[in-house]
């Protein structure tokens, strides 16, 4: 799996890896969505577009995941697919498809309070791209 849930003494995090930067950000969105909705399969009935900018990749990652979290908290929008494009080094645009959470089908939804900067990493190596993000739950 391109993302895995990692331990934190009080909260939850994800470790993500991907071949390229855009895929890394898409996988991080899937990782966060998995924490919110661990057990249901999602369909793609809705579409949302977002543009996010940061001062560096770590800030861009936090701001990007904040968008995903906001879409859930305000519209109950759960991401099934993310098409991410980098416009500049620290700016991305994305088309998100997914569906609105339905309490009858999406059970065991977990509330995530926020995306934190705690121990955040976004790095490139010979093996590809990887990131670590901790969430407040």
């Amino acid at each position: 799996m391109p993302f895995r849930v990692i331990e934190h003494p009080a909260d939850l995090g994800i470790e993500v890896s991907a071949a390229d930067r855009a895929s890394l950000f898409a996988e991080a969105a899937y990782g966060l969505t998995h924490l919110i909705n661990p057990s249901s399969v999602l369909s793609a009935t809705l579409e949302r577009s977002v543009t996010v900018e940061g001062a560096d990749l770590a800030q861009l990652m936090v701001r990007w995941l904040n968008e995903v979290l906001f879409l859930f908290d305000s519209e109950r929008f759960l991401v099934s697919s993310a098409c991410v494009r980098f416009d500049r080094s620290f700016r991305l645009s994305a088309t998100l498809t997914g569906e609105q959470a339905d309490p009858r089908r999406h059970v065991n939804l977990q509330e995530i309070k926020a995306v934190t900067y705690h121990h955040i990493t976004v790095t490139e190596s010979a093996a590809g791209w990887s990131a670590t993000v901790i969430f407040d739950v």
């Binding site: 009080a10 919110i36 309070k113």
Partner: protein
């Protein structure tokens, strides 16, 4: 480090604290500009992000900083304790039906159905009025307000600092519990440790109480997120560099600092209103099951907050900005901010335990004013990660274990039960005893659960 760190713990708790990054985080906070006295950690401390959970730090009003991370995402997460005139023997036989009724009155988990929907105009009134707004709308009585920290309404709230996004997240969450470690619990007083204080708080053995643990919901989370970003962008302009990005901060008197404090106070008021609405709905549930019983607010206290308070610093009284990140205000007898009917004994300090263990009522002391800026612990403190807690336990096993001890439970999610199982937390009695023996709060009564609603 600009000041020393001080951790309240015994040898066992200290070894638990040493296992994660708590001590490093206490040290990191000690580097913040304008910190006064010591960087403190309560015995329930564990690793947070930026500040340790269980951390207390006071800042000079002129040279010091305010940190959004020093309050945390769940602004004014806190505890309300309600006391009833019912006895354990009256409630225990009906606990399942009562929990069923309570779970209909108090929405929990990630769902929002059953909340108080807020128009833009109403939202501003909530942000300015807090629990006072809720009482004006019929969710409670004046007596409730008399028994809430700051009367349930923080002055200096500035709705303009609360973004459109924060408002959107909070628009349909008022009166909801949330998830994570939030809960509503029906309990009874199993032991009284301090007869005088218990008498002042109208507590006696066998009496049924209800504890609500919740905060400012998505609105508060977004306020912290927004201002953390602002602080990150602004702090270099003030010549501030921090060890951990989550410690982003700005001078208290800066435009960004004042803007954050206005928004934080507004979010805190949302949290006070949230607990007030839920408390009143508890009254409906009890009235439905037990007819003419009475349900009074014993106290309501914040444990994620930054406040301007007067403390004695090097022999002089002065205002400081006290950050409490997972710590409870614990003011002593005689303090003007303690409700008048409790002033002879001190402020109630409400300490929720982990699900299915005990909770405690303590009372603030003069020593807390001398050592901890009038602060004590806020709970048991996690000892196991959520991931680890889920690994070897099923929700059904948690339910069976609790029921074998006479504790009934309802949860919005299965993961809510396994992640919050009692074994995932430190022993709350040990935590409370350390606070008691250190003299920063005094044990008054022990509360044992009959039934729990989990987010």
């Amino acid at each position: 480090m600009r000041v020393e760190g001080l951790v309240y713990a015994d040898a066992d708790l200290f070894s638990a604290i040493e296992r994660d990054e708590t001590l490093q985080q206490v040290a990191n906070v000690a580097t913040l500009p304008g910190i006064i006295g010591r960087s403190l950690a309560m015995p329930d401390a564990h690793q947070g992000y930026g500040f340790a959970i269980g951390g207390v730090a006071a800042m000079d009003m002129d040279d010091g900083v305010v940190s959004a991370g020093g309050v945390g995402f769940d602004i004014n997460c806190g505890v309300r304790l309600l006391r009833t005139d019912l006895k354990e023997r009256e409630v225990r036989p009906q606990i399942d039906a009562l929990l069923h009724r309570l779970s209909r009155e108090i929405p929990c988990g990630a769902g929002k159905e059953g909340s108080v929907a807020l128009s833009e105009e109403k939202m501003n009134s909530v942000l300015l009025g807090g629990a006072r707004w809720a009482v004006e709308q019929g969710y409670g009585i004046q007596e409730d307000l008399d028994h809430i920290e700051e009367g349930g309404c923080l002055a200096g709230a500035d709705p303009a600092g609360v973004s459109k996004r924060a408002r959107e997240r909070g628009r349909d969450q008022l009166g909801t519990l949330g998830s994570g470690n939030h809960f509503a619990e029906v309990q009874y007083v199993s032991e009284v440790h301090d007869a005088d204080a218990a008498k002042a708080f109208h507590l006696q053995e066998g009496q049924v109480t209800v504890m609500i643990h919740s905060g400012s919901r998505g609105l508060g989370h977004q306020v912290c997120t927004d201002h953390l970003e602002t602080m990150q962008d602004a702090m270099s302009g003030y010549g501030i560099r921090v060890i951990d990005r989550q410690l982003a901060c700005v001078p208290i008197r800066s435009r960004e600092g004042q803007r954050y404090l206005g928004a934080m106070n507004a979010a805190a008021n949302y949290a006070f209103a949230n607990r007030q609405v839920m408390s009143h709905r508890v009254r409906y549930a009890f009235a439905d099951r037990f007819g003419g019983c009475s349900v009074h607010t014993l106290y309501d206290v914040a444990h994620n907050i930054a406040k301007v308070e007067e403390h004695e610093i090097e022999g002089r009284r002065k205002n400081v900005m006290v950050h409490r990140k997972g710590a409870t205000r614990a003011f002593p007898a005689g303090h003007a901010d303690v409700p008048s009917d409790y002033r002879s004994v001190g402020q109630p300090v409400l300490i929720p335990g982990s699900m299915g263990t005990s909770s405690y009522v303590l009372v603030g002391t003069t020593r807390a004013m001398q050592e901890t800026f009038g602060s004590a612990c806020h709970g048991a403190g996690r000892s196991m990660s959520r991931h680890a807690a889920k690994k070897d336990t099923t929700a059904e096993e948690v339910i069976r274990a609790l029921e074998s001890r006479g504790i009934h439970v309802r949860s919005a999610t299965k993961s809510g039960l396994t992640e919050e199982k009692p074994e995932a937390y430190k022993d709350v009695t040990r935590v409370v005893r350390i606070v008691h023996e250190a003299g920063i709060a005094r044990m008054v009564a022990r509360l044992v659960p009959l039934g729990v609603i989990k987010g």
